[in-house]
Symmetry: C2
């Protein structure tokens, strides 16, 4: 099968061995796959990953032990947990100590004609949600994770830093709960695309009054956290939503002096992303798709995804 | 009056002008003052402070508008708030945007024959608490702040990093709520002094099983936070209790991946410190006093306080 491989460099293998069926797992025909900033980091050596890339996908179940599920259109939770460790027992399967993560850690990903995940990880996509919206379920669920971690009254003043895909999705998700959200980004074109649901946008940090109740850092930048800390009120919350793989210099004195609460936030539950899509059919996700490429042109697609003007690049017509 | 001054260098001024009485403020005869790690940082340029050092004291009210308070033995809350700003209105006076802080920020401190604070900041010390215990009210209240910020069931496994005064006090305070506390430090002598209330102690990080529910960083060291993060379980809490004035290099990827919650923690409320002292008359605070010096020998006392073997150095016989 065709597959997008990272093995110190990035290439499309046209004759990769397809996954074999395992007990309790399913084989999925991949329809579309999204390129995420994490994929770009992986191609720089993050996590030391080698293999088939990709963790955002929509596909159709081709083979599994439950005949009723074959042919269903699905998305897939990316963390494959052991089911037995301390974290799994606490219902924190996404933090399983022995987890594998689709296309990120110890498990081949979805940028291929076929991928494989446990059937329990797959979730059927309601017919109301078309493929171009459903491809956002993974990052949208990651944005919804904030609502699970931070209890919001709706009265909070929130600032989101970063006008990439995740920053915009975080703004939109939070705007369904809080009315006072400002998105700060560097790219006028992306900020214009992000206008929805009374979101305030600016490309100038000086436009923002410090002292926000909650600041989300979705910049993926080394300076993001320092800016977030400077904009947050004493005893406020900073949510760190993007990983930075390298060491970087920080001064955390004001974190202590202001008694801030910094919350790391990663994957979310797909049921929350799907619910968000069903409840907000006007959330303009399609706008975020910068371009679509066939799988064969994945290396070109990755180049475009690296451009600061791109938001979401999709691989499609895979099967 | 005699006063310990920092003005690019540290010295004792024998003829400093005493504070004058202001409306709603009190003049206090200082009996004892403690040297804190923050004082040592201030003498390296932290906060750009210049003036009389000191924020831990026990004294006797010499002059104020309320005659009934004159002669009372008191300690003093170190944050002087404006009473009007957004933070003050939220009962977060310790985070007042215009605050002055005794001997730290915009306000002369207590290492002098007399100091001055608003009468509202002063709290009478119950007679059950002698001076050598009462001098710990400020750092003990700072340790109690953790209990205000983190709701504990008592079942948590807690690790405290740092065998300095604050690390030991945090361990003792938390041990009144949780039974499973381990203190990790570098100094065998300090760890031996810290034995109380079934506290576990070790000087070897390899003795500690990672995956703790809560890790307190009271090291004041650049590497403390990274060690704390490595010992904390997914979705666990890291409390950052000491400030580091310089920038330092960090990798926060695992903060996001593990979805940790990092809480900055600073001053506490004196009523909590006093309650802790009254409820725990056997907490062996006196052990933590490494030595006592008269105010005249403050520069020598600061040198001893800098030694890694010292825990708490006290200036006494001030008036």
């Amino acid at each position: 099968m065709k597959a997008v491989i990272f093995n110190n460099n990035l290439y499309v293998d046209n004759a990769h061995k397809p996954p074999e069926i395992q007990k309790d797992w399913a084989i999925i025909n991949v329809n579309k796959a999204g390129i995420c900033k994490t994929d770009l980091e992986l191609t720089k050596g993050y996590m030391g990953f080698k293999g088939i890339l990709g963790h955002e996908f929509i596909g159709t179940i081709k083979n599994c032990h439950d005949d009723r599920m074959i042919g269903k259109r699905v998305a897939g939770e990316i963390n494959v947990s052991c089911g037995h460790c301390e974290m799994c027992k606490k219902n924190l399967e996404r933090h399983c100590y022995k987890r594998k993560v689709l296309g990120i850690q110890g498990l081949n990903g979805c940028m291929a004609e076929y991928c494989s995940l446990p059937l329990a990880n797959l979730i059927e996509i309601p017919s109301e949600i078309n493929d171009d919206r459903a491809i956002f379920i993974e990052p949208l669920s990651a944005a919804c994770e904030i609502l699970e971690q931070v209890k919001l009254s709706g009265e909070e003043r929130v600032i989101v830093l970063g006008d990439g895909n995740l920053g915009i999705l975080c703004s939109w998700v939070l705007s369904t709960v809080c009315s006072n959200i400002t998105l700060l980004g560097h790219h006028r074109s992306k900020l214009d695309l992000s206008k929805w649901n009374n979101l305030k946008i600016t490309n100038n940090v000086d436009d923002i009054k410090p002292g926000a109740d909650i600041v989300i850092d979705a910049t993926g930048s080394k300076t993001g956290l320092s800016v977030a800390i400077s904009l947050c009120r004493p005893r406020g919350i900073v949510v760190l939503k993007t990983t930075i793989s390298q060491d970087h210099s920080l001064n955390l004195a004001s974190l202590v002096i202001q008694e801030l609460n910094i919350i790391g936030s990663r994957c979310g539950q797909f049921k929350d992303g799907i619910k968000m899509l069903l409840n907000n059919p006007d959330m303009p996700l399609e706008r975020l798709i910068s371009c679509k490429y066939p799988l064969e042109k994945a290396t070109e697609a990755f180049k475009v995804a690296k451009s600061s003007e791109s938001i979401k690049v999709i691989l499609e017509n895979i099967c």
